[in-house]
């Protein structure tokens, strides 16, 4: 099974679970369990780089998260939840199109009427860059509440396992693969550098 197929299988199972559990409206979703083999097949991104002043000046855009003593399964749950919240789930999809994210179900459903109008208005006023900024703020706030620390990264390394979303949405396969890589980092070895402000 190649990497993409394996990811498809992993996320396919996850999506099924999401659909079934969404009916309950529960906010206490069971944590999806990954096998060691599944986790091992997810590429660990490179995090080592020689930081320059220019890198440090952009740490408000390029960073990763890590929490000590956190399992891959727990980190995947946390990152998925924050990704769904940060994305503004229903803003990016139609009312009859299911959101492809494991933990999306716990936050309910809906194609925003008032919200969509407001979001569209906000987009018209502030544009895609403001949306990208809100996503960064939301990931920081959400994972900060969960006790994750934030570490700076060079743009070059960051781009290999992160995505930005403004008015559009990254391709599902790409974003799912990157979320799994972010999970490996978040639950992986303690970073060498000092943490930033949450």
């Amino acid at each position: 099974m190649n990497g993409a197929a394996m990811l498809g299988t992993l996320l396919g199972c996850a999506l099924f679970a999401s659909t079934a559990l969404a009916q309950t409206g529960s906010t206490d979703m069971p944590i999806k369990s990954f096998t060691g083999d599944e986790v091992g097949k997810i590429e660990m991104p490179a995090l080592q780089f020689k930081a320059t002043a220019a890198d440090a000046a952009d740490y408000d855009k390029y960073y990763f998260f890590h929490r000590a003593e956190t399992s891959f399964d727990q980190a995947f749950s946390d990152i998925s939840e924050c990704d769904a919240l940060a994305s503004g789930i229903s803003y990016y999809r139609g009312t009859s199109e299911p959101y492809a994210g494991y933990y999306a179900g716990q936050y309910g459903i809906g194609g925003a009427i008032g919200g969509a109008i407001g979001a569209a208005l906000a987009d018209a006023i502030f544009g895609s860059s403001e949306r990208r900024k809100v996503r960064r703020i939301n990931m920081r706030n959400c994972l900060g509440f969960k006790g994750y620390q934030r570490f700076g990264l060079s743009k070059e390394l960051w781009k290999k396992f992160n995505f930005e979303e403004g008015n559009g949405r990254e391709e599902a396969e790409t974003r799912d693969a990157m979320l799994l890589q972010q999970t490996r980092v978040a639950s992986g070895p303690k970073p060498m550098q000092e943490p930033l402000e949450p």
């Binding site: 994305s87 229903s90 009859s96 199109e97 936050y107 459903i109 703020i137």
Partner: protein, 287 residues
């Protein structure tokens, strides 16, 4: 015979007219009480009072009563039927477009529509159809650094969604923790006072464009107490302190900045992102 036909036609027309004019179910009706010298509140209506340091919007979503749920389910069913009809039209159009595209070499093929099913069709959440916003306009009173909103609203149970006006699409949602409260007819439900959250107040570092300290900053809510000042114009109307209760997480369906209501003593606290219902765990509280 002509008379009978005319009567029948009139009856049919009346029936159609009645059906067409069948009143849509209203989940929430709301109206701000304006700042006037003499204020007359109606004993059949329910009101909420909220004090803020300045003009700002606060959005509330209703939690469904049994009657609301029936009406909501009906709306959802109707939306599903419409989605199916739309799909049938889209499929017809798709087949025509596909046949046309296949005739011309190099033409991009149209995307096949996806049939909505009961499993995949998702109607907007209840909070999206049953909500109201207080502010930013129509303050009941305003002084320097102190203002208040008094607003009539349909009785029921509500959640504070966040500091946002949905029509503007900017603000902060309390998606990661908030409170609910009940509103009853014939009373002013006093929600207390919003003010700076001293615990998290602070400037973002210079150049930190994604700092939650600024963009996702939330106001602290201090529930009403015996010493909370009451505007003399409404002092004679029955007033109750809001019975706040910790509420879980909710969807960020406006796609705005996310945060949570700051802890409220005796009501809500947090352990990392876990929401602690302090009333449920307090001695004598329900488990």
């Amino acid at each position: 015979m002509k008379v009978q036909l005319a009567l029948f036609a009139a009856a049919v027309a009346l029936s159609v007219s009645v059906q067409a004019k069948e009143k849509a179910y209203v989940f929430v009706e709301t109206k701000p009480v304006k700042d006037a010298k003499i204020v007359k509140l109606e004993p059949t209506k329910a009101y909420i009072m909220l004090r803020t340091p300045n003009a700002m919007p606060v959005h509330f979503i209703k939690l469904p009563s049994a009657e609301d749920q029936v009406a909501y389910d009906k709306l959802s069913d109707e939306a599903f039927v419409k989605a199916q009809k739309d799909y049938a039209k889209a499929l017809k159009r798709y087949k025509i477009d596909l046949a046309t595209a296949k005739k011309v070499k190099g033409t991009k093929l149209p995307k096949e529509p996806v049939e909505p099913t009961r499993e995949t069709f998702q109607y907007q959440s209840f909070g999206q159809v049953a909500n109201f916003t207080v502010g930013a306009f129509n303050r009941f009173y305003s002084e320097k650094g102190d203002s208040g909103y008094l607003q009539a609203v349909t009785p029921g149970k509500y959640r504070i969604f966040g500091q946002v006006d949905p029509l503007l699409g900017m603000g902060v949602c309390y998606c990661m923790g908030s409170v609910t409260f009940d509103v009853e007819a014939g009373k002013i439900t006093d929600l207390g006072t919003m003010g700076a959250d001293i615990a998290s107040a602070g400037q973002a570092e210079k150049g930190d464009s994604s700092s939650p300290a600024a963009a996702a900053y939330t106001m602290a809510l201090t529930p009403a107490s015996e010493t909370t000042p009451v505007d003399p114009r409404i002092a004679s109307f029955p007033r109750v302190k809001a019975n706040f209760k910790a509420a879980g997480k909710s969807a960020n369906y406006m796609g705005i900045a996310i945060s949570r209501i700051p802890p409220i003593a005796g009501v809500i606290a947090y352990q990392r992102d876990r929401i602690l219902d302090l009333k449920a765990t307090a001695p004598g509280g329900s488990q």
